[in-house]
Symmetry: D2
């Protein structure tokens, strides 16, 4: 498969230096390791290696949804892939599902969800801050999944318009206020998920979940450690992300 003009590509120098770029004729990308010319890239197969003007190797690959969210324009803090993977599996979101999400933020979680409900499922994404919605729309377009998402400029706390949805996934400041609304929007056995940085958010949300007929409550956090694997120098990396957010899951029953 060849790289066409207009495609988004991931340009890789090494694990820590990667860029998400649109392939355009005449465009040049400047880095500390020299300039990469897009005329050398367009028409080549994905996976090709090109040289910068300083003769350093750069590699051009098709970006995954994860590459896109890690490199997308961020209006807000995004949910990280480590957490998104757990949300996907714990909510049982698979191709064909109808999922309600709030808030959209920069559209990172939305992008991944859209990739996994497509082609027949939909993500209904609520965001009351119009400026974020614009960023998210551009990001979803870049990721090629806008058609699977319905962006809604609405505060989810004013009500969920969808019914009988498979999952409601919240990344909002006051998830406990949306617990009852989520219950009503979910189908029987449907999945509730909430992602929150602070313990107080978890405490209040779980308290509300226990008032409604939700079962199988789980709260967890996910910690990822990267390793340096090099002969004689193998070890976990010195610095790591210590915390992103807690995830709480539950299922609606009747």
């Amino acid at each position: 498969m060849s790289i066409n003009e207009g495609d988004y590509v991931l340009l890789i120098y090494d694990r820590k230096r990667k860029w998400l770029l649109r392939a355009e004729k005449g465009k040049k990308h400047h880095t500390h390791k020299g300039t990469v010319d897009f005329d050398d890239i367009i028409g080549k197969p994905y996976g090709s290696t090109v040289l910068s003007n300083l003769n350093h190797e750069f590699h051009v690959v098709k970006p995954t949804p994860m590459d896109i969210i890690l490199k997308m324009r961020r209006a807000t803090q995004i949910i990280y892939p480590k957490d998104i993977g757990l949300i996907l599996l714990n909510t049982g979101v698979v191709p064909g599902c109808r999922v309600v999400e709030a808030g959209t933020g920069s559209g990172a979680l939305t992008t991944i969800l859209a990739n996994y409900v497509k082609p027949h499922g939909r993500v209904y994404s609520y965001e009351n801050r119009a400026e974020f919605l614009n960023t998210a729309r551009k990001n979803l377009e870049k990721a090629g999944v806008l058609e699977y998402v319905k962006l809604k400029n609405r505060d989810i706390l004013e009500g969920i318009e969808e019914e009988e949805v498979d999952a409601v996934i919240l990344d909002i400041a006051t998830p406990w206020l949306a617990v009852r609304l989520a219950y009503e929007a979910l189908k029987g056995g449907g999945h509730f998920a909430s992602y929150s940085p602070t313990i107080e958010q978890v405490q209040k949300t779980v308290k509300e979940l226990k008032k409604e007929k939700f079962v199988d409550l789980r709260t967890l956090e996910c910690i990822v450690r990267y390793f340096n694997v090099e002969e004689g120098k193998t070890r976990p990396e010195t610095r790591m992300i210590g915390h992103t957010g807690y995830m709480t899951f539950a299922r609606k029953v009747q």
Copy 2:
């Protein structure tokens, strides 16, 4: 959506007591909290609550792929959901992908992959131990995704028959021996993943990856901590899983 005879359902008492069962007329399920009669379940909507003969509440929901793999018959140690989520996102497996996997084992990873490549993608799963393949086939059938999987009773070290695949995912004892084969089977920019319990496996595999034209190498481990969230008693759980396996990812370039 109603529960039909023949459906697999998840019967939930609480977070730690759940059963994956087939709905059959006349069947009874015995637990410490009493006996649940399937005649009370069939025909009810998913998400229903039924009472055992001891008047305890049980809930019946549709099992997610994660529920299925956690409850499936295990011929082998399975890869856990926390790790599968990271594998999915790091390999960019989305609906439509063609993925090679080895070994099949009990079919846990296979089940999740099949759910996320469907309906148009395929999982080609290698397993040289015929007895495991039988278990895996039953599990995949139970999970309803057998049609998206090609089970192959072959040792992947004897060669990968597929070409231009999107990802090769290894959970075998000697992943380093399959690095060259994976390189050849992958399309440009395609994803390599290996899951290994020991550090020596990681050391050898990364050494081989560095010999081939793989880039964007990452080795990481994922640790999940569950929390008890209860007023006045909120805390991480006392015991946790300390290690399952390391994951190594890379992309093929040319």
Copy 3:
């Protein structure tokens, strides 16, 4: 140095099978690996290897304070060595310090503190449950540090009798209720430490610390992972302790 009758010794079969025993003539210790005869042990130097009647090797060493607390009779959950090490360093307890502790519990933390304030320092240990105090006294005697400890059958919430102490270390259910008392008992620059399993205890205690003139507040948790190091099988252990308690530290200023 030879093993004398009456000494407490640590009998080691392997890392997971160790026993804290008193050397007595005629005494035999029965294990799955055979019987060890104390007549073979008394008079031998520490570090000796003896054979059981089934010809398995057992080793006899002098127990460290850590060995003693891990093997002592427990009336209560003890604070683990990983946490005690951090408490020691964060409170600056060194030989000569005067330390107030509550509650005594089984005397585990007391034992370690006594070992590190000796010979000229003292531990003042409050415990309102008389039955625990008896267990603790026996444990401290076994550990040979009873003379450095003043055990007090009193509820610390009724008042701290000591003045100008170097540190107050709390392992009680309601540490926030003792914050003001700790402030009064501490000398200028003295150290407050609290060990609590739950987040709510931490939240309340930190809130109280902020009301008093305490500075340099730190709350942390400590996670220890054990490794299996064996050629070709090196990896973290599968199961681990996920949580014991949070530690909060502060210093009194005026």
Copy 4:
């Protein structure tokens, strides 16, 4: 207890802004929160609060050994308090012990060990790089424990001169080469400890330990997470130290 001229004090603005300083008449300490005048400090009791010229509160306390090592001049990477606490308890180092240590480095571990073997024990610290030894000597003097340490400008791999020591603690590049030497220097039941950043160091060291008559082998790592505890914002800190070093412990038997 009052602050005298010449004392080392810890000046605290908040948890992240602390300085280890010598109290000298006429000296001023400049910070972003204004200038602190030591003439305001000398003669005051420890724990006093003074105002900078910009009217910000600063607190003056007696530094703990931990404060000193965290603020000491570093010629090398130091072992962190979290790891030192575990080394102390796992090696059973208590007042009166005779401990061999290599290499001295900046003297951080030496400082803590000296504080816990004093007044009757000794630390014999080997360092073959003379320039590090100078830094270490100044640090130990500053910490007030130089009299309990014998600094030796020698490579420990050339031999350990002490006999019948209680513990040998290694923080050197090739600890496996010192395993036999440690065995010979230790008394029966004596403790071996090694601190190493990489897995290969651990693998080689454990292999050597298994060749000698060492028992009770343990390899572990220690991870500390700091929490932000603030009403409505309680959560682990976003960034943390992911790895410092692995610790391996063993006991000599005969």
